[in-house]
């Protein structure tokens, strides 16, 4: 049940190479363009953030590892446009020639950008799912990390934290469940918690006895201990 993006705790990646505080936001011109095309296409409203994340995760491991960050974005976007029927393979081959698209009236206009970015897309929703855990309560994550609705589907419980025992730090409210939302199965909102784990629950050789890792986890990822 692994996918290449789920890399927390992995060995072998070498040093982190910091860049200067004042380094350019976009290292090259096309990085900014890749981000902007992705955001502008997202404004057409044909997918949500969970669908979009999952599409990047579906890049083959070989592509995911060799692509730079914004290459993943732009390749994910191309796949998403075809997967959602916004574009066809023929559109790619014809470089977009032909009639104006039926979704053209949803095009994000330059003067609407600041407002759209400022509005954002909150993920909290009312939910009928009762809150099962209280702050301080001991919980354990599912022993096997993986989407329970769709085999190989999107999930946000990293493998390194599967089967780990921690306790509830905070209830964030009720949020859209990515495992459902990424697959067109509805938003299925449920309680979302910050859960704190001792590093010794996660790693064979933690650096310090007091170290901890906090993850934001949905109620259905957790069971009472």
């Amino acid at each position: 049940m692994t996918r290449v993006h789920d890399m927390g705790g992995r060995f072998g990646d070498g040093p982190v190479v910091p860049d200067a505080e004042g380094a350019p936001v976009f290292a090259t011109e096309w990085h900014g363009r890749a981000l902007a095309v992705t955001l502008a296409a997202g404004a057409l409203g044909q997918w949500n953030i969970d669908v979009s994340r999952h599409t990047r995760e579906l890049l083959s491991p070989k592509d995911y590892m060799r692509f730079s960050y914004y290459e993943k974005w732009i390749s994910g976007l191309a796949d998403l446009l075809v997967q959602t029927g916004v574009l066809t393979r023929e559109d790619f081959e014809a470089a977009g020639a032909g009639e104006t698209h039926p979704l053209a009236d949803k095009k994000l206009k330059a003067e609407a950008v600041a407002g759209a970015l400022a509005k954002g897309g909150p993920a909290d929703r009312p939910s009928d799912v009762p809150v099962s855990f209280e702050t301080g309560q001991a919980v354990r994550t599912l022993q096997i990390s993986g989407n329970r609705l769709v085999e190989g589907g999107h999930t946000r419980l990293p493998i390194y934290a599967a089967g780990a025992k921690g306790h509830i730090l905070k209830l964030h409210g009720t949020h859209v469940l990515p495992d459902s939302s990424a697959h067109g199965l509805g938003e299925a909102p449920e309680p979302l918690y910050a859960v704190v784990f001792p590093a010794s629950e996660l790693w064979a050789d933690p650096e310090h006895p007091g170290d901890e890792v906090v993850l934001d986890l949905w109620q259905s990822y957790l069971e009472a201990v």
Binding site: M7, E21, A23, G120, R156
Partner: protein, 204 residues
């Protein structure tokens, strides 16, 4: 449904990434789905208007005003929204405070979640495989890559941003900053100090 196939549509675009972006922009523009002026505006906003200077103002205010700090730690989303910092990738904000006993660090091991309205677009290292892989398992060794050493008494709490909640670190106010204005304090707050991989500057 997950489609695990080898004929991804992206393979129809030119392999060079700059050309691949250009091809996609051209197709979408010709179809009337995007406007190049809109792209310019998005780039301008994240290059020039939304960046770590926003978060630095919040930190400096928290250092200067205990009542503000208490509200910020209790309900960051509403408090930073009052200062005008809300929106995409910052809809649900939590601020956590460093203390002599506990240092905090933020990562997203699954992708690159980051508080855009307060810090802008994440730097390259934050999105790198090395940071995503290592920050949760060996935070001190990662801090060493940034030239930061913690005291032996300090534990580390790493926040893995696995949902739509975004985290900002409130670093400790440096010694010798008594009497500085909020504007002067904001100058000491670095981007990395708000991610937890750096410390604020000390006044010269």
């Amino acid at each position: 449904m997950p489609h695990d196939h080898s004929d991804h549509p992206h393979a129809l675009l030119p392999p060079d990434p700059a050309l691949r972006v250009k091809a996609l922009e051209t197709i979408l523009t010709r179809k009337g789905l995007i406007d190049p002026a809109t792209l310019d505006e998005i780039i301008d906003i994240y290059q020039n208007k939304i960046g770590p200077q926003n978060g630095a103002r919040v930190v400096a205010k928290a250092w200067s005003d205990p009542a503000f700090k208490a509200r910020l730690l209790a309900d960051a989303t509403a408090v930073v929204a009052d200062l005008g910092y809300f929106g995409r990738q910052g809809e649900h904000m939590v601020v956590v405070e460093n203390t002599p006993e506990q240092h905090n660090m933020v990562v997203c091991t699954l992708c690159s979640c980051y508080p855009w309205p307060l810090l802008g677009i994440p730097p390259g290292w934050y999105k790198s495989d090395a940071y995503r892989a290592r920050a949760v398992r060996e935070p001190r060794k990662v801090l060493a890559d940034f030239g930061v050493t913690l005291s032996d008494e300090s534990s580390v709490r790493v926040w893995d941003s696995t949902a739509e909640v975004r985290y900002l670190i409130l670093p400790m106010r440096p010694a010798g900053t008594e009497g500085l204005s909020e504007e002067e304090l904001a100058e000491l707050v670095t981007r990395d100090s708000m991610i937890g991989t750096g410390l604020p500057k000390v006044p010269s």
